[in-house]
Symmetry: C2
Subunit: 135 residues, 2 copies
């Protein structure tokens, strides 16, 4: 359905701008016109419209013109695909830490385990201690 790589490029690029994130925040509470989106922002309508176009191209937002009003609303598919991509990487990384914790717990060699002792302890400390064989 989505050309994954290209679409994630566009979604993450769209979210990298603070003004566009404010617009997504506003729209997550419900549809809004372009002028409603512009109201809290120190931006011209033209600038807001450009941001809306970036959001629309990324798939995060859909717009519909009714008379002279362009109404914007969230399209959740792109939001979900970006969220899943991040969540999958985070989960993979956490699972690896769990296995590392099990291994260290099972091996129970306090001399190798460093100042925090054996076991999972602080996961971030464990993650930043790659195997010692590089030196």
């Amino acid at each position: 359905m989505l050309d994954q790589a290209a679409d994630l490029d566009r979604v993450f690029h769209a979210l990298a701008d603070p003004g566009r994130r404010v617009m997504v925040e506003r729209l997550s509470a419900g549809p809004a016109s372009v002028s409603e989106l512009a109201r809290p922002l120190a931006m011209s309508l033209a600038a807001v419209l450009q941001h809306v176009q970036v959001l629309e191209a990324s798939g995060l937002v859909r717009t519909r013109k009714t008379g002279r009003t362009r109404t914007c609303s969230i399209d959740p598919v792109a939001l979900r695909s970006a969220e899943s991509w991040i969540a999958e990487r985070r989960t993979l990384w956490e699972r690896r830490l769990d296995r590392l914790g099990d291994y260290l717990g099972g091996a129970a060699r306090p001399a190798d385990a460093g100042p925090t002792g054996p076991g999972p302890a602080d996961p971030r400390t464990a993650a930043n201690d790659p195997p010692k064989e590089t030196r």
Copy 2:
């Protein structure tokens, strides 16, 4: 801890590049040296190093130099803050749809409900039907 806006700018910008996402994917399986990161990519080591610097500046990745080897690993804090930001917006948007569904279900006015009938039906259809008062 994080300067939220500026950091999310950097995190989403870092994730907007497919090569950098490949690196994050590789690192979510465990720490790797810069040359290990370069191996599957059609990129010079210098280009990979530049991407690593962008990832490091965003907080997604930490690096540590041991002798001549720079080892990279995931820092989950930035990954989590980007994931939370998206998840919160998605949740807000879904809650609004639920309320809209409840309202339409409670009001039970089939004449106003369009071809899909009253009730929550397809949430995306509902989301893209803003109130009719604009025309």
